[in-house]
Subunit: 153 residues, 2 copies
Amino acid sequence: MKLKLIIALALGAATTAAMAGEVEDQIRFRQSAYSFLGWNTAKIKAQAADHPETFNKDQVIAAANAVAAVANSGLLSLYGPGTDKGTGWKATRLKPEFFEKQDEVKEIEATFIKEANELQKVAANGDPAEVKAQFGKVGATCKSCHDLIRVRE
Amino acid sequence: MKLKLIIALALGAATTAAMAGEVEDQIRFRQSAYSFLGWNTAKIKAQAADHPETFNKDQVIAAANAVAAVANSGLLSLYGPGTDKGTGWKATRLKPEFFEKQDEVKEIEATFIKEANELQKVAANGDPAEVKAQFGKVGATCKSCHDLIRVRE
């Protein structure tokens, strides 16, 4: 019995460690994805909204392609069970309520993807005013998600 | 003289602090970009090379779009002066030699962009063998850059 117990505990610990690793990887990858997203949205905001005299069509296209690529990369696969606790690059900011709000989250995610794809199209046209307007719609989806499931800092 | 000295020191400290912030932002953004890149290349490797029975055309296209978007996002703008020292999410792994190897770095970066764009095209065709072959070429550019300017862990 003693040996069996030790083996059971050892296996349990190993499983927990493996799961912890996966949880922390998921958190680190989503923190990376959103930070890369934030870098690219900041470039669009600077050139299309805050300093329109610096608008550079090629750079805005590249940034909008990055925003769309992040949006379509399957980020919700990085929200597995247990990822409301744990540390990626830093402690996660995901609220535990995430797991009870799946319908709202999926709807926001779908809108985020739709608006990001539209931003990619609009950026290709190269009209700063159009980019600014569509960027506003994308930003609204970021905010709605943060309000719902991200802890305030 | 004393007051002037204090003001000079205070201004100096402020400038240093501002620069340190920018340096740490650049390091954090590039660490995020490369981690997001690594997540997406791992998905392509798993589906096109290691477990071809799991090949999913849409997922591979999305991952290849992400790889190309990162490659074209202007990452070299995140390698400003002083960014061979400092901490983003963690201490940077950039070797100080980076700043003396600009010709080689620019050549590798151009090849990385070219091969990533080609991977995006090939993925759209949906042939696993073609994706695997082109993925090998992209991976070779990652390695050549890491060998040149990234500290071994």
